[in-house]
């Protein structure tokens, strides 16, 4: 197991280093003088001089990367010139909001996707299966920002049940917080629920066809108990690991969802930074996203290997 962990780490670390190089190199795409471009709206020579010094812009690219990477490792993601704050501070401030949104969305995805997947596997080939597959295709094809707009139209404009925007921290009022997060979480979870449904269906079909399930059925186990007690626990392993991999999709989707519902999270931070030409913040958010994502992939692999020793040889 330790050996497996070491092998996985040996692959993940170079991947992250290379990803950070790509993210750093994005700077080179900026037109004109890098210091002027990085300063954004500011044209103050003092600010430009500060940036030139901070990012060692008079040095060659690999050296600059070295300084930057050392900073990132030490927790220094750079300075947001626009907001007069360090990027690490901004990230630490916004990350919990996005994590809450992502967890709620995952709950929505599991609550819809897993029962639907079980039903369509158990009732394979019937109208329930067709319906579930249709719902999954709908979930995959509907752009989540449009779904968000439609929900605002229905629940905020027409019915007035839920607020269209306005985030309330849970420390202030948990109820108001959940009310504000209900629509964003549903919108974000919707697309993932389709993927979860497909994973669950495939995993359940595999397990339901196995010998031990047939034996249990022959011994007269009730159908409900057979599905929930005998089949589901074994089908759950791939569902959990594949679910963890959907996190990238969740982070991508959060950017749009937060924009529609004005949720002050990670995605909104990134989009606002893009428009303020606050490139240090954009880089900081992207590198944190990549690190989270690679970390989750690693965790999912390790979790799967811990549960199933056969995978350790892979």
């Amino acid at each position: 197991m330790l050996q497996f962990l070491a092998r996985r780490l040996a692959l993940a670390v170079p991947t992250l280093i290379l990803a950070s190089m790509i993210i750093f190199a994005l700077q080179q795409l900026l037109p004109g003088d890098t210091a002027t471009a990085l300063s954004g709206e500011e044209r103050d020579p003092e600010v430009i001089a500060f940036i030139r010094d901070k990012y060692h812009l008079d040095r060659p690219l690999p050296v600059r990367y070295g300084y930057w990477a050392a900073g990132v490792l030490g927790g220094d993601l750079g300075e947001s010139i626009r907001l007069q704050k360090s990027v690490s501070e901004l990230v630490a401030e916004k990350l919990p909001v996005t994590l809450e949104l992502a967890c709620l969305a995952m709950l929505v995805a599991l609550a819809i996707g897993v029962p639907m997947g079980i039903l369509s596997a158990v009732r394979r080939g019937t109208w329930a299966d067709t319906l579930a597959n249709g719902v999954a295709l709908w979930g995959l094809s509907i752009p989540n920002f449009w779904l968000g707009i439609l929900m605002i139209l229905l629940f905020s404009v027409q019915l007035g049940w839920l607020p269209a925007s306005g985030y309330v921290p849970p420390s202030e009022s948990l109820w108001e917080n959940l009310k504000a997060m209900a629509m964003p979480a549903f919108v974000l979870g919707n697309a993932i629920s389709a993927v979860m449904m497909r994973h669950t269906r495939a995993a359940m079909l595999g397990v339901l066809g196995s010998d031990y399930v047939r034996t249990a059925r022959a011994k007269g186990v009730s159908p409900l108990r057979l599905v929930l007690r005998h089949a589901l626990p074994n089908a759950a392993i791939p569902i959990i690991t594949l679910g963890a991999l959907e996190f990238g999709q969740l982070l991508s989707g959060a950017v749009l969802t937060e924009q529609i519902f004005s949720v002050p999270g990670f995605g909104k931070l990134m989009v606002d930074a893009v428009f303020n030409r606050d490139f240090a913040t954009v880089q900081g958010v992207v590198i944190c996203t990549a690190a989270t994502y690679v970390g989750l992939n690693l965790a999912a692999d390790v979790l799967a290997a811990a549960v199933n020793p056969k995978l350790r040889r892979a």
């Binding site: 290379l18 990803a19 995959l140 449009w146 707009i149 959907e246 991508s252 992207v286 892979a314």
Partner: protein, 307 residues
């Protein structure tokens, strides 16, 4: 890293089942006819094909179909409700929504096709080289795609578009580059599977140079798998273009784009909901069409995958 491996597929709205499996190319006319028959037998694939062809015709003949110029403003039609004169209503400065939907198809389909063409033209050669050459070349190319896959698709596209500057062309480049790694992986997996086949072994033993084996013997056999993946990736690229335009990083006003129309429409939901209905429905239909057609194409090209 196997986690990221699998994720090449997870980035896209549809799972890529084609990876690693050899899909035979229908070459003789009889096979082509059989392929067409298999495709037609799938109702969902036909629906997808009809939607895709319809949208392509709409984009090509936009000038004849649209009742107005898409950028022409009419102060009498500002946020006008749907009527006979403006069947889909008017937008915030009195432009005809129907005309903008029709012309918007050009931005969406154009972005889908161009970005995927870019991704294929970069990813296919890289995947061929990685898969056939092996060794450190393969290692270098694969580590690079791993690194690109470590950044979620849309976030990479947004970051690229942000640094390149907002325009439709740059959005296409950003989406194309973000999708490239999927094609590198797919091509490499297909090439590796084929390289072990006897006909490749035979071609090698009669003294064909590696480039000739890769181009003449292997490439034609991986075209179907690439075609299926490209169709499904167009669906993802259309969503990505709409997302970037929605965020203001794609098509710039006053040129029409479905994503940009939705961005404006969200400010007028209580007064002019039709501004939000039609562009969203168009994106949904386009994505659904390519997903259905791509799924059908995969089933029709790979008889072994049939249930």
């Amino acid at each position: 890293m196997s986690g990221i491996d699998r994720d090449g597929a997870a980035l896209l709205p549809s799972p890529t089942v084609v990876e690693g499996r050899r899909v035979p190319l229908p070459r003789e006319p009889g096979t082509l006819r059989a392929f067409w028959r298999r495709l037609r037998a799938r109702r969902s694939a036909v629906v997808g094909l009809v939607i895709v062809v319809g949208l392509v015709l709409m984009a090509v003949f936009a000038a004849w179909i649209a009742p107005y110029d898409p950028t022409e403003t009419d102060w009498g039609a500002v946020r006008a409700a749907p009527s006979l004169a403006h069947p889909f209503g008017g937008d915030e400065v009195g432009r005809d929504v129907l005309a903008r939907i029709v012309y918007g198809a050009r931005a969406s389909l154009g972005a889908g096709l161009v970005s995927v063409a870019l991704a294929v033209s970069l990813g296919l050669p890289l995947g061929l080289v990685a898969g056939y050459a092996g060794g450190w070349v393969d290692g270098a190319i694969m580590r690079l795609t791993d690194a690109l896959l470590a950044i979620p698709f849309l976030i990479l596209a947004i970051a690229l578009a942000a640094f390149l500057g907002p325009s439709l062309t740059n959005a296409m480049v950003a989406i194309g580059l973000s999708a490239t790694s999927t094609f590198v992986r797919l091509t490499r997996a297909q090439v590796q599977a084929l390289a072990a086949e006897e006909f490749v072994e035979a071609a090698r033993s009669v003294g064909n140079p590696p480039w000739r084996i890769a181009l003449v013997h292997i490439l034609p056999n991986i075209v179907p798998a690439i075609l299926v993946q490209a169709t499904l990736t167009i669906a993802a690229a259309i969503i990505a273009e709409a997302s970037l335009s929605f965020l203001g990083l794609g098509q710039q006003p006053p040129e029409p784009s479905w994503g940009a129309m939705l961005n404006v429409a969200k400010n007028f939901l209580d007064q002019a909901p039709w501004m939000a209905i039609w562009p969203g429905l168009s994106i949904f239909l386009a994505v659904l069409g390519f997903n259905l057609f791509g799924d059908g194409l995969r089933d029709a090209l790979d008889p072994r995958g049939r249930t």
